[in-house]
Structures are given as C-alpha cells and as structure tokens.
C-alpha cells in the first residue's frame, strides 16, 4: 500500500537523533566500489555527523530552556544532505545494503525541520 512506503517522519529530538544515527550506520556499512560513490558516501557521513552534533547540542541546550538555539548551525549540513539525496538513491541501486536510503534521508531531514522549526 502506498501509505506504507512513506517515510516515517520523527516528531521529536530523540526520534530524529535515532534516525540520524541509523542513517550514519547504514552509510558506514556500505561498501562502495568506485571513487565517485565513495566520495558521495563520505560527504553524506560528514553531513550526518554534523547533524548529530547539532542535535546533541540542541538536546543539551533545551535542558536549559534554550530551544532551537542550534538552528543556525544545522542549515548547512541539512542542505548538504538534501543535495546528496538523489546521488545516494542512485548508489542504492548498486549497493543493496543502502536500500531505502532516500527515505532515511527524508526521515532525518523532516525530523530536523520539526525539531528546529525551520
């Protein structure tokens, strides 16, 4: 059914963090076989790592009541991940373990937009 193929968008910070960590692990376990694919995956790992750092920062700041304090810093890695999405989807056609990577990217992007209200 079509509704089942839609990515689940995390609604809060812990869910978004879990989605980002899962995406990072999936990217790290991929085994690209050429320079271009490897570069794309390295860049995506870099972006997801930066997103995780900002989510951790937001988590810490939110305990002191400073929500969305890290919003400015997350825009660049989110844009980078958005730009890489179609290339990752293409690589997923060659690397089975990447499977639903495009939906996973959507999940992280959607979660971040919800958490940071951007």
């Amino acid at each position: 059914m079509a509704i089942n193929s839609l990515p689940e968008i995390p609604q809060d910070l812990p869910q978004t963090r879990a989605a980002a960590q899962s995406l990072l692990d999936k990217l790290s376990n991929a085994n690209p076989a050429n320079a271009a694919d490897s570069q794309t995956i390295s860049d995506a790992i870099d972006a997801v790592n930066a997103i995780l750092t900002q989510l951790n920062q937001e988590d810490m700041l939110s305990r002191d009541g400073a929500m969305q304090a890290a919003a400015a810093e997350i825009k660049a890695p989110l844009k980078k991940l958005t730009d890489l999405k179609s290339q990752l989807a293409d690589i997923a056609t060659r690397i089975e373990t990447l499977g639903t990577v495009a939906q996973d990217v959507d999940s992280v992007l959607g979660g971040c937009k919800s958490v940071f209200k951007i």
């Binding site: 960590q21 990217l27 490897s38 810490m60 305990r63």
Partner: protein
C-alpha cells in the same frame, strides 16, 4: 619507684603506643585498602582519556592528509576528540576522586600528612571553582543529568578536601562523601556513554566511521597514481583504523566499568563502617582492583599499537 623502673615503664609505654598506632581498626584497614586501589585506578583513568585523545589525533591526521587535495587545510579542520577545556573538567573530577582516596589514607594514618594537606586543599579549591564552571554544567547536560545535583556533588567533595581532617572524623567523611562520590562517578560513566547511544564512546565511533570512509575514498581517488607499495600501505591503514577504534572504545569501556565499581565499593565501605568483618566489601574491592588492572591493560595495549601513526606517516 627508682629511676631504672621509671625508664623501663617509659620504654614499655613507648612500645605499646607504637604497636597501638600500627594496629589499625577493621574499618581503617578497609579504608586503607580502598584508598590504595582507588588512587591507583583513578590515575590510570586519567591516562586512558589522554591515550584516547592521542590515538584520535593520529587517526585525524590521516583524514586531514586524505582531504588535503580537495579541501586544503584550515585550522578549524583540526579538532581534538575532546576540547582542552572539556578534558580539563574530566581531569579535575578524576583528580578529586584520587585526592578523596588519599584523604582517606591520611585520616587513617597510612599516609604522610603535611604534603597531602596542601595537595588536598589545592584540589578542593579547584573543585569548588569547577562546581560553578559552565564546562561542568555542559558535561552534565550532555550526560543527561541535572546540573544542580552535579554541581552540589563537586562542591561537597571540594569542601571535604579543602578542610583539615582528623582520624575521628573518618566515619562522618565516609557518610558525607557517599552521595557526592556516587554522583561524580555517575556523571563520568554517563559521559563515557555507549557506542550505539550517546557520550564519548558514541562520538568516537561516529568519528572513526568518518575517518575510515575518508581513507577508503582517498584510496579510490588516488589508486591510479599510487605505486603498489603505496597502495598496499594505504589499504593496510583501513584495518589498522578499525583496530584502533576498538582499542580506544575498550579503554573507555574499561574506565566506565572501573568508575561504577569505585562507586559501589565506596558505598560498601560506608555501609560496613560499623562491621568488624565485611566479606561483601572485600569481594567488591577485589572486583574493583581487577577492573583497575583492566584499565591499565587496555591502556597498555592501545599505547603499544603504534602502527596507526606509523602508517599515517
């Protein structure tokens, strides 16, 4: 009583006093044993943080070399695993625990007092400052702990170390330090975290994933220009990085486990302060001592692995 008898009596009294001074109570013996184990282990813990930092620096150099053609080099690209200020907070906390163990040895009379007093007071004052430091609050936030509780614990330990203590105060020192020591150990344990969840072990895992991916990309991008020997060295670095990540993670895991055992052994020390025999305490102490050895052994294994830095160069 003639002069000879007086001298003999004085001599006997001196012997009795000397023997009595060496004859520690069961609690004092337990405290002395705990103090020895805790001092040795906290020292190793401090080394373990430094070792992970050094190992990470070596690995990060590989990343910077690999990305140089694409990104060049900016100072901001070179980030330590733990910023200097963050490392300082952790080092101060471990120093506080080490000094607490030394304080216990001092009040049981198993350590020389004058030099320790100065050191204890200095550590106490630095902990009292740390209690108000934003770095400690940030660490508590990262560890998902209440910063007020953590700050109070550090301040209480600082006060205890800064004040002069006597042997009579041993039971009250143990009582008053139980909760602060528990809280400080819990902070350090949660700060270390787990590879899958959060904390330093998670950061280490994610950072190494990035470094390994970059190394693979470097090989693909440059293999056509490499000699067979250069390519072999570049490929060999991949499993070396994986091994290094595992060793660093094991070092942090062993440190966290030792901190848990330090807290439970200290708790048992407090709970058995009125007991003559306490086999449960001795079991916990043995387990703590064994874990302390484990921290030492993972540190030694990690420091022996020089192949990373060699391969990077």
């Amino acid at each position: 009583m003639n002069a000879r008898s007086v001298l003999r009596l004085c001599g006997l009294l001196c012997v009795l006093l000397t023997v009595g001074g060496c004859n520690l109570s069961p609690l004092e013996k337990r405290v002395a044993a705990f103090s020895t184990a805790a001092s040795a282990t906290t020292l190793k813990m401090t080394s373990s943080y430094a070792l992970v930092e050094q190992s990470y620096t070596d690995a990060q150099s590989a990343k910077l070399v690999n990305n140089f053609d694409k990104n060049g080099f900016k100072e901001d690209d070179y980030q330590p695993f733990m910023p200097v200020e963050a490392m300082k907070v952790r080092t101060q906390l471990l120093k506080g625990l080490e000094q607490y163990a030394t304080l216990l040895a001092e009040v049981t009379g198993t350590a020389s007092v004058s030099a320790i007093d100065k050191q204890s007071q200095a550590t106490g004052k630095s902990l009292q400052s740390l209690a108000k430091d934003s770095g400690l609050a940030a660490m508590a936030g990262d560890a998902k702990l209440d910063s007020g509780t953590v700050s109070s614990a550090v301040d209480a330990l600082g006060h205890a170390l800064a004040e002069e203590k006597t042997a009579k105060e041993l039971p009250s020192i143990l009582d008053s330090m139980k909760q602060p020591v528990d809280n400080i150990c819990q902070l350090l344990v949660q700060d270390i975290g787990t590879p899958e969840g959060s904390g330093l072990r998670n950061q280490l895992r994610n950072d190494y994933q990035q470094i390994i991916a970059d190394q693979r990309t470097y090989i693909y991008a440059n293999e056509a220009k490499m000699t067979a020997t250069e390519k072999r060295a570049a490929i060999e670095l991949l499993p070396t990085l994986v091994a290094k990540e595992k060793e660093d993670d094991a070092t942090l895991a062993a440190t966290a486990e030792a901190l848990k055992k330090l807290a439970t052994t200290n708790d048992a020390l407090v709970e058995t302060k009125k007991s003559k025999d306490s086999p449960a305490f001795h079991t916990l102490l043995s387990s703590f001592e064994a874990q302390g050895q484990q921290v030492g052994s993972t540190c030694t294994a990690a420091s022996k692995c020089g192949s990373c830095s060699t391969a990077t160069k």
